[in-house]
Structures are given as structure tokens and as C-alpha cells.
């Protein structure tokens, strides 16, 4: 266990390789591929028509609502994981506590549900 950090060396190697590969491949590609840009090539694709208006449009508000829901629920798993790992030591009391905790979350879910946050009305 003393050399546990070796595991992370390996992880670092993986991440490093993950970075090296795109760099290497793209550099190699640059040497091989042709590069003859024209104005037409570089226009934004809109089914063959000339692009209309600005593309950085305003997003539907739904996206944000879901993002908020995600933040809340995802972070709660922070408590679920340690609890699950240590569940064998904790026993019934922790189960009840977690039940309370999660039922609060469920109330939140019901709230969102009733308030029609989960209803996706448009694209």
C-alpha cells in the first residue's frame, strides 16, 4: 500500500497518452493532407444555403432548469457513495438516516415534477 501512488503514475500515463495521440495524429495529418481553403469551404454549413443570422442563439430555458436539477441530484450522490461503501459498518441507523435524506430528495423531485420542470415542451 505504500506505493499506492504508483497507480496514479499509471493513470497519468494514460492521460498523457490520451493527449499525445490527438497531437501526434493531427500533426501527422497536417503533413499528409492538402490544405486549400476557399471562402465556400469555410462558410458555416446550413444545408447549402448562405448562413442566416447569428448562430450563438439563446438557449431554451429548459436546458438551464435541467442543469440545475442535475447539479442538485448529482451532488447528493456524494453522500450516497460513502454511505454505500461503509454501509456494512453502519447498519440500520444509517439506513434510516439515508432514507430521510433521500426522501427529502424525492420531495424535490416531486416538486420539480409538479412544477412541470421535467416536461420538455420544445426541442
Amino acid at each position: 500500500m505504500a506505493l499506492y501512488s504508483n497507480n496514479y503514475v499509471l493513470v497519468a500515463i494514460f492521460i498523457g497518452l490520451g493527449i499525445i495521440l490527438p497531437i501526434a495524429a493531427l500533426t501527422l495529418g497536417r503533413l499528409l493532407r492538402p490544405n486549400k481553403p476557399t471562402a465556400e469551404k469555410q462558410t458555416t454549413y446550413e444545408s447549402g444555403n448562405d448562413p442566416v443570422g447569428e448562430s450563438h442563439v439563446r438557449f431554451n430555458i429548459r436546458y438551464y432548469l435541467f442543469a440545475l436539477m442535475f447539479v442538485i441530484f448529482d451532488v447528493e450522490t456524494v453522500f450516497l457513495y460513502p454511505w454505500a461503501v461503509a454501509y456494512d459498518f453502519l447498519g440500520l441507523f444509517a439506513l434510516v438516516e439515508m432514507l430521510i435524506f433521500v426522501s427529502l430528495l424525492v420531495v424535490g423531485l416531486i416538486y420539480a415534477w409538479k412544477k412541470k420542470v421535467l416536461q420538455w415542451s420544445s426541442i
Partner: protein
């Protein structure tokens, strides 16, 4: 204090200051919220570092940082929610445009 902790604390302090600076000076509301998150995360770094290399290592620091994360998430969720209503009403997320009050 044992040696290995110093870099962590230094990094924490730097992040904290960067966050504080950002939160106080930035114009874009989202960046302000991000800066606050940065501050909170620098604190987490401190806690985790202390819980491993502190004078009296203990697991409480890690627990604390877990709580911090959730709290930070809740806080930023509220922040964004308010920002959305703000944006709906006035169509801006620039902090400088928030000058309705004090008039």
C-alpha cells in the same frame, strides 16, 4: 506543520485569492458565480490536505469537504436560478447593469 502540506496550502491560498478577486471584480455574473466556486474549492483543497498531512490527520476534513461540495452546489444552483429570472426580466447577465437598487 509537516513539510508536504505547504504546497497544498499555497495552492489553496492562491486559488482563494484568485476566486476572491474574480468574485469582486468580474462583470459577468456567471463568472462571478464561478469565482465563488473557486473559493469554495480552494477551501476543500485545504481541508483535504489538512486531513492527510495536518498535525493531527483525521477523516473529518474529508467529511467537511464533502459537505462543502453539496453546499456549494446548492448555492450555485440558487445563484443560477436567480440569474435566470434576472435574465428573463432584464436580458442581461452583466453585474454592472444591476443598479436598480439604491436609486
Amino acid at each position: 506543520m509537516s513539510e508536504p502540506i505547504l504546497p497544498y496550502l499555497t495552492l489553496g491560498a492562491i486559488l482563494f485569492c484568485v476566486g476572491l478577486y474574480g468574485a469582486l471584480t468580474k462583470k459577468n455574473a456567471v463568472i462571478v458565480l464561478l469565482s465563488i466556486e473557486l473559493m469554495l474549492n480552494s477551501v476543500n483543497l485545504n481541508f483535504v490536505a489538512f486531513s492527510k498531512y495536518g498535525v493531527a490527520p483525521s477523516f473529518q476534513g474529508q467529511i467537511f469537504s464533502l459537505f462543502n461540495m453539496t453546499v456549494a452546489a446548492a448555492e450555485v444552483a440558487i445563484g443560477i436560478a436567480i440569474l435566470i429570472t434576472l435574465y428573463r426580466n432584464k436580458g442581461t447577465s452583466n453585474v454592472d447593469d444591476m443598479n436598480e437598487l439604491r436609486k
